[in-house]
Symmetry: C2
Subunit: 244 residues, 2 copies
């Protein structure tokens, strides 16, 4: 039975540590200030100070940096259960912007809320540090992947990673997942042109590996795709049998 109070973040952190009733209650209180945000309007601007962090409970968000020449570089996407701007709330000045891709629900978390929660339960502090470490591991994986993987392996790796992240919050499995990203998002994230993205997706479909259509990613041959991408999910630390 899924309890109503089991937010995606709770599910995610539970993959790292078995939270007690008291810890669950503290985590739940962090979700108090829930708000709805419309697609396309930044939650947090790059360079903004004294902003809050947010816990995303539904919808997808794009985080990006604006370059000196005005172009946008996608850093990552956030899915339910992810923090938005956790590092920014601690680093004072946000080093990137967050834009909801669809209408989202997110709970505002102030630095003081975090301090209070950590004082109440140090295990929760460790769990949140785990989540931050996992985010960093993903960025490192992207950094390494950018120069090394061919465009088709990069695409496959990206969509498999998102699938694993969604599986952690019970929103995806080895069959696939609902995905609101456009081909433009994929192009920005992978450093490819939209035309190139289109061609690669067609190749992957024709090879019987996966299909991305009408807001849904379908893994037609999960193991084949893993092989193409050389996808080893160890860096996501989801050692349980999550994708099944």
């Amino acid at each position: 039975m899924i309890l109503a109070k089991q937010s995606p973040l709770t599910r995610k952190l539970s993959a790292f540590v078995a939270l007690s009733e008291a810890e669950l209650a503290v985590l739940e209180r962090l979700h108090q200030r829930r708000r709805i945000f419309a697609a396309g309007r930044d939650l947090v601007h790059q360079g903004q100070s004294d902003q809050a962090a947010y816990i995303l409970s539904s919808g997808w968000v794009c985080s990006y940096k604006v370059q000196a020449d005005g172009t946008r570089q996608v850093v990552d996407f956030q899915v339910p259960g992810d923090f938005l701007g956790l590092r920014s709330v601690l680093l004072r000045t946000s080093d990137h912007s967050f834009e909801p891709i669809v209408t989202i629900e997110a709970a505002e978390v102030l630095k003081s809320d975090l301090l209070v929660a950590f004082a109440q339960t140090p295990r929760l502090a460790t769990a949140i540090l785990w989540a931050a470490s996992r985010d960093e591991a993903m960025v490192v994986e992207h950094l390494v992947g950018i120069g090394r993987r061919d465009a088709d392996a990069r695409m496959a790796h990206f969509l498999l990673e998102i699938g694993s992240r969604l599986a952690l919050v019970a929103m995806g499995n080895k069959e696939g997942y609902a995905c609101p990203l456009t081909q433009y998002h994929l192009a920005d994230a992978l450093g490819l042109s939209a035309i190139h993205v289109n061609r690669i997706l067609r190749q992957l479909r024709e090879a019987g590996l996966m299909t991305f259509r009408k807001g849904h990613v379908t893994f037609d041959d999960y193991e084949g795709l893993v092989k193409l991408a050389e996808f080893d999910p160890a860096y996501l630390d989801q050692t349980g049998p999550l994708l099944k």
Copy 2:
């Protein structure tokens, strides 16, 4: 007056939060198991499980990933005051390796030590989360820089970033800093050939901007170098006047 017990990590975290006597004592206890490690022998191997984290108190370390094809990709360098493998100790499997560049001194920290320390002082947990967030911000900055900056701006940005990090632990300033990196390290880190690195360093020297010679980086024209690199240190969250 600098107290003997002011380790580089203590100095670094003090830039984020004014630590009380009690918090300093807890932080000091994390430094108990100090060990010396020789250059060139990995502290932590990629894929290793149940490893400890380390607090680096002297010397420099290179963190890298080994690719499926056997090549090495440098992720970052660690300087005194940095954690080695903080995210790995939480993520169970290390996603990268650590190799001392010179003889180093580092204190071993187990996951259980962290939990005990966090239970004693939640403000310390927040400070360590701050340090982890700052590390992530650096990786994001590298990710964005890789495709966007010319080789000379990339080199300048890299050496300025290291300078700012060292300034935080009183090991560098706007004049320069001692640097044990070789041109091969620079080449690996910046995705350039050793010959290319050599040429860029000569150009920067001939332009009167900086000199890298005999294990020392000298900023001949700090502001000029900042301008070339478009270096904005906000992501390092060192809002105090550190470089002076």
